[in-house]
């Protein structure tokens, strides 16, 4: 017998649970304007999240998946991704997508049940939120192939949750990215829960990061409550992807501080003490303490920041609520580039019914 291979999985954390900075922290850890901006984005995400849940509870929004407690993952992912990169989100990615030229009102429009929430900006190459779990890493790999084919210096970010790592498509995407050396970074938001199924029941593998090793490239764990680590490790991975077409997998470890979606009731399966214990590590307080300890964020500045977020959210909600609905026949728009003639009859039927006030 001989050993033919071994592997290691690194874990990255720069700002620890006590808001202490490690010696090997990157320069971002002393870049106060950037850190304050990241802090602002996380606060905005949490407030927006709370608002979305309230809107759903009062019948003004459809089913919505909360981002609470996972702000460092999604804010960090959106922040680290360059404008020219392509972002392939899953449904929990509101806080990342809001940094991709997508307005908060558009995000509300999506969760309010309107396809126009996926228009983003007309020039955006980003994908819309993917609802079928784990299917979107393949689109990221395909887009990364196109980038390489066209010899562009861009990368693709594929986001998914821990449950998605059990899907065949997730592994198929990593497998092909490894073989074809595609400029794609796979991000797993390991928030410990796939609806009711805990991470431990998802796979016997010790880490999710090590799944990349079977695909022939590096996987690493990152403290998903440490925004400095999330941003820095993602930026490093994206740089590698753009310059050397090397894929990488980052498992960002955090905790889902809410039900799976507003349609879920986690009290049926989640031990309360787990969530409470995890709350001690939530990302916003950790960064706040660090900023406060370094005297770069005063109480007054913090209040102004929160007030600004409230204004932005209120404006977005007003915009969302003032958006006029799509006309009924928009149902037939964009099915094909040119609607085949056989659809004319069905379309006309709908238009006539609406005019007569029938449906």
């Amino acid at each position: 017998m001989k050993i033919v291979d071994r592997f290691e999985v690194s874990y990255y954390q720069y700002l620890d649970e006590q808001s202490q900075l490690s010696e090997d922290a990157p320069s971002l850890a002393r870049d106060w304007p950037k850190l304050i901006e990241l802090y602002r984005l996380m606060v905005l995400a949490r407030m927006m999240d709370a608002k979305a849940i309230r809107l759903q509870r009062t019948g003004m929004l459809g089913t919505y998946p909360s981002t609470r407690g996972q702000e460092a993952v999604f804010v960090g992912a959106g922040y680290a991704t360059a404008k020219t990169d392509i972002f392939v989100p899953y449904y929990r990615d509101m806080a990342a997508v809001m940094q991709r030229g997508v307005s908060l009102s558009q995000i509300l429009l999506y969760w309010g049940g309107d396809e126009r929430g996926n228009i983003f900006q007309s020039t955006s190459d980003d994908f819309p939120f993917s609802v079928p779990v784990g299917s979107q890493p393949l689109h990221a790999a395909g887009a990364a192939f196109a980038i390489k084919y066209k010899k562009e210096s861009r990368a693709v970010v594929a986001m998914c949750g821990d449950g998605a790592t059990s899907e065949g498509d997730f592994y198929e995407a990593m497998n092909v990215a490894g073989i074809w050396k595609l400029p794609v970074v796979f991000i797993v938001c390991n928030n410990q829960w796939a609806i009711s199924v805990p991470r431990s029941a998802q796979t016997a593998a010790h880490t999710l990061a090590q799944k990349a090793i079977a695909a022939g490239f590096e996987g690493e764990q990152v403290d998903g409550n440490d925004i400095i680590a999330v941003v820095h490790r993602m930026q490093e991975a994206l740089k590698e992807a753009r310059e050397h077409h090397t894929p990488r997998l980052l498992e960002l470890i955090c905790y889902r501080q809410h039900d799976h979606t507003t349609a879920d009731d986690a009290s049926r399966y989640e031990p309360k003490d787990l969530r409470d214990a995890a709350w001690q590590h939530e990302p916003i307080m950790r960064l706040r303490k660090f900023l406060a300890a370094n005297n770069v964020l005063s109480e007054t500045e913090e209040q102004a920041l929160a007030a600004d977020c409230t204004d932005k959210i209120n404006t977005a909600v007003a915009e969302y609520q003032a958006t006029s609905p799509q006309s009924a026949d928009a149902l037939f728009d964009y099915l094909y580039k040119t609607l085949p003639s056989c659809y004319a009859e069905q379309r006309l039927q709908l238009i006539n019914e609406v005019e007569r006030g029938k449906p």
């Binding site: 996926n118 955006s124 689109h139 395909g142 887009a143 192939f145």
Partner: protein
């Protein structure tokens, strides 16, 4: 003297290769991907020689994962490439169905036109080639049911060439079903002029006043043969090759049925929930009073497609088609 364009007689599979080659030459955004499509030229040789002509950047041997082939093609298509992906047999496209239905078919609709999927998923379909299980499927109705897709099935070398070019140039996803039983059945002159044939429209192969026979794919062969034999009896059938199964050109079909008053739909796929059912329903809705006789469907039975030895019992035969037509001719 007029210079005549050299037109060799080629098979249906060679026409597929010719169309792929023409379009790859004309459009650098066209890439071919699939299992064994490279050096091997595909299990049926549809991509024969493409690797040598266009290189491994454009002719991609993929890992063995069908969902990956579809999902990758979707990602490529959104970024300006025109992927033409091969699935080795229709029975092996099923792992990719989630990608096809949940994403390829609806990305344009979902993003209100911002992203789209101009791609082609090619696959051989149909029984009668004595292959193992899962190599003989005709499940076109699964795909024809899905809004946002086009489903196309050629039945001759000329139509394979022209329709594949049209499929590649189409701005939306196309499921391109190639009748494996006809891959090498007959040769035909195919002009390599890069001219596409129209999608979304049936082809009337022969005109007749007595019975309309509506079919597609490999069954066109049996129907044509029945047609020429019945002519000797004095029965003239109008043969329609549907060619594009989704969206369906009911204008051509209804015009013919209104003329003949009798119709048979022939397909290899199982009876229940087949495309024939939809055609009959539309005829009933729109041309009932033109009918002299109840429409008849001659199809595969509602069974699993059998292994090679029982294929002959499953497939619609010329005899079954002829019997159906004779039955209809009893109605004046």
């Amino acid at each position: 003297m007029e210079k005549k364009l050299f037109m060799p007689e080629i098979t249906l599979i060679e026409a597929i290769t010719l169309a792929l080659s023409f379009e790859m030459q004309a459009d650098p955004s066209v890439v071919v991907l699939g299992e064994d499509v490279g050096l091997d030229g595909g299990v049926f040789r549809a991509t024969n020689g493409l690797l040598q002509a266009f290189g491994k950047e454009r002719v991609l041997d993929t890992p063995l994962a069908e969902s990956m082939i579809a999902g990758m093609a979707i990602g490529m298509a959104t970024q300006g490439l025109k992927p033409v992906a091969e699935f080795q047999f229709m029975g092996f496209i099923y792992p990719a169905i989630d990608q096809i239905i949940s994403h390829a078919a609806r990305l344009r609709h979902r993003t209100r036109g911002r992203l789209s999927c101009p791609l082609v998923f090619r696959t051989p379909f149909g029984a009668g080639i004595h292959a193992p299980e899962h190599h003989s499927e005709s499940t076109e109705a699964l795909f024809a049911h899905i809004p946002g897709l086009r489903v196309v099935a050629p039945s001759t070398p000329v139509r394979a060439y022209g329709l594949l070019l049209a499929a590649i140039r189409d701005p939306d996803p196309v499921i391109f079903l190639e009748p494996s039983r006809l891959y090498r059945y007959a040769k035909q002159e195919v002009k390599n002029d890069g001219k596409a044939l129209p999608l979304d429209q049936c082809f009337v192969l022969s005109e007749g006043d007595d019975v309309t026979v509506i079919t597609w794919g490999a069954m066109v062969k049996e129907v044509l043969s029945v047609g020429s034999r019945l002519k000797e009896e004095g029965v003239n059938i109008e043969i329609i090759d549907v060619a594009t199964l989704k969206p369906l050109d009911m204008v051509t079909i209804l015009a013919s049925v209104e003329k003949t008053g009798r119709c048979v739909i022939v397909h290899e796929a199982a009876l229940t929930g087949g495309i024939g059912a939809d055609i009959v329903a539309q005829i009933a809705e729109k041309a009932l009073f033109s009918l002299k006789a109840p429409p008849i469907r001659v199809t595969g039975f509602d069974t699993i497609v059998p292994y090679a030895r029982m294929e002959k019992y499953y497939m619609p035969t010329e005899k079954r088609i002829t019997t159906a037509i004779h039955q209809l001719m009893e109605y004046a």
